[in-house]
Symmetry: C2
Subunit: 237 residues, 2 copies
């Protein structure tokens, strides 16, 4: 997974990658972005917030970012995670409709949206590519909806882990070792569960021998096949 598949990035259960397009955008944006200075963000620092004027597109150089919406009563829905190479802030128009907050210390470059739009307005190909990329993000968002709606805690967590593993090397083998850059609270707010349920589910998976948890933020996937089965709704555990 590369460029522009940012916003709900952590989530691609079933959508095939299409590197060609992203690459092309990547390059175009890269040209502009490479000149921009990288800014550092501390953990919990906001890159942008809901309601902020959407002036820039950002690319994560290092670290990690969560994207979320807040509800009236303080509940939080995380819509995705963005990692190095991902772009965020792209779909927005006028105002940002979500918050972007660093979950690990991050280096991030910004490019004015106006420039991008100026280029895009003259370049149908870039523009069309932009369109298709957003379409892919849309597909990803829908994948998440499918994972989130209607499914048990084990299914959600298993699917989450598998997606993280896949993310590490799109197209290639899923990684065995997954570092969770986010807290249990982040995972909970992403999957629509509570931190306790996340924790319990992980220990249950560990007890079942499907994963190992050498540290709380480090997961080793021991039985991908079974995890996959669980993610797809198979019984048991």
């Amino acid at each position: 997974m590369t460029a522009l598949q940012a916003i709900s990035s952590a989530y691609y259960p079933s959508t095939p990658r299409r590197p060609a397009h992203s690459e092309r955008i990547g390059r175009t944006l890269d040209d502009c972005l490479s000149q921009a200075p990288a800014r550092r963000f501390d953990v919990k620092e906001f890159i942008f917030a809901e309601g902020d004027p959407a002036n820039h597109v950002y690319r994560i150089e290092s670290g990690a970012v969560s994207l979320f919406r807040l509800l009236y009563d303080g509940r939080r829905q995380i819509l995705g995670f963005a990692y190095p190479g991902d772009y965020i802030g792209l779909g927005a128009r006028g105002e940002h409709i979500m918050n972007a907050q660093a979950i690990k210390p991050a280096r991030i470059r910004a490019m004015p949206l106006a420039s991008l739009h100026r280029i895009a307005a003259k370049d149908p190909i870039l523009c069309f590519t932009l369109y298709q990329s957003i379409a892919e993000e849309l597909a990803a968002a829908r994948d998440l909806m499918v994972t989130t709606g209607h499914r048990s805690a084990v299914e959600r967590v298993a699917a989450f882990l598998i997606t993280l593993a896949r993310r590490s090397d799109p197209g290639g083998e899923p990684a065995r070792l997954v570092d969770l850059l986010m807290t249990r609270a982040d995972i909970a707010d992403f999957l629509g569960l509570t931190i306790e349920t996340i924790s319990r589910t992980l220990t249950k998976l560990k007890a079942g021998g499907l994963i190992d948890l050498p540290q709380s933020a480090r997961v080793i996937l021991l039985d991908m096949v079974e995890l996959q089965r669980l993610a797809e709704g198979a019984e048991s555990l």
Copy 2:
């Protein structure tokens, strides 16, 4: 809500409308579509299915359509509903990634995707508009995720009803009278609940005097303010 905000159409809790763009696309597509013959679809008939080659964009002339994904084990996640004026099949590339099925007898026009792409490739403005429209759909999909993840049955149903009411006259007053074109099962699969819970929740809302249910497919919103409060997570009922 008009053109192109189709796919997850039923859902715009907080995204503002931007008719200008949709209108512009609407017109461009309309030019092509008006020449196309309208085909009739019976209830439960598929317009397209997951995996079908994505050759056309469709506009609903009359009736209603549900858009959904199927899981391995038969569970179904409805991703949205499309109504007259809505376009479906737009984001797809290569293959359709979901199913579109009539939930009411429908008249639907099709336009070859190739034509649209041909036009778009030469017309940066149309293209940019396409991009922005998809971006809005993305926003809508995220709104749904927010509504679906983490929330109680009452909250979801209340939000659902309000959205249906708003849909009737975007920008204007929400309708008091809402006809449910979909079955309880459809609503359940949309909101990630069961038909029994939908039914119970509706009767609870009726008992509370917030809505009336003269027929099972007809809802009258009696207390929009309170419904809104519920949708936003207020206690009680």
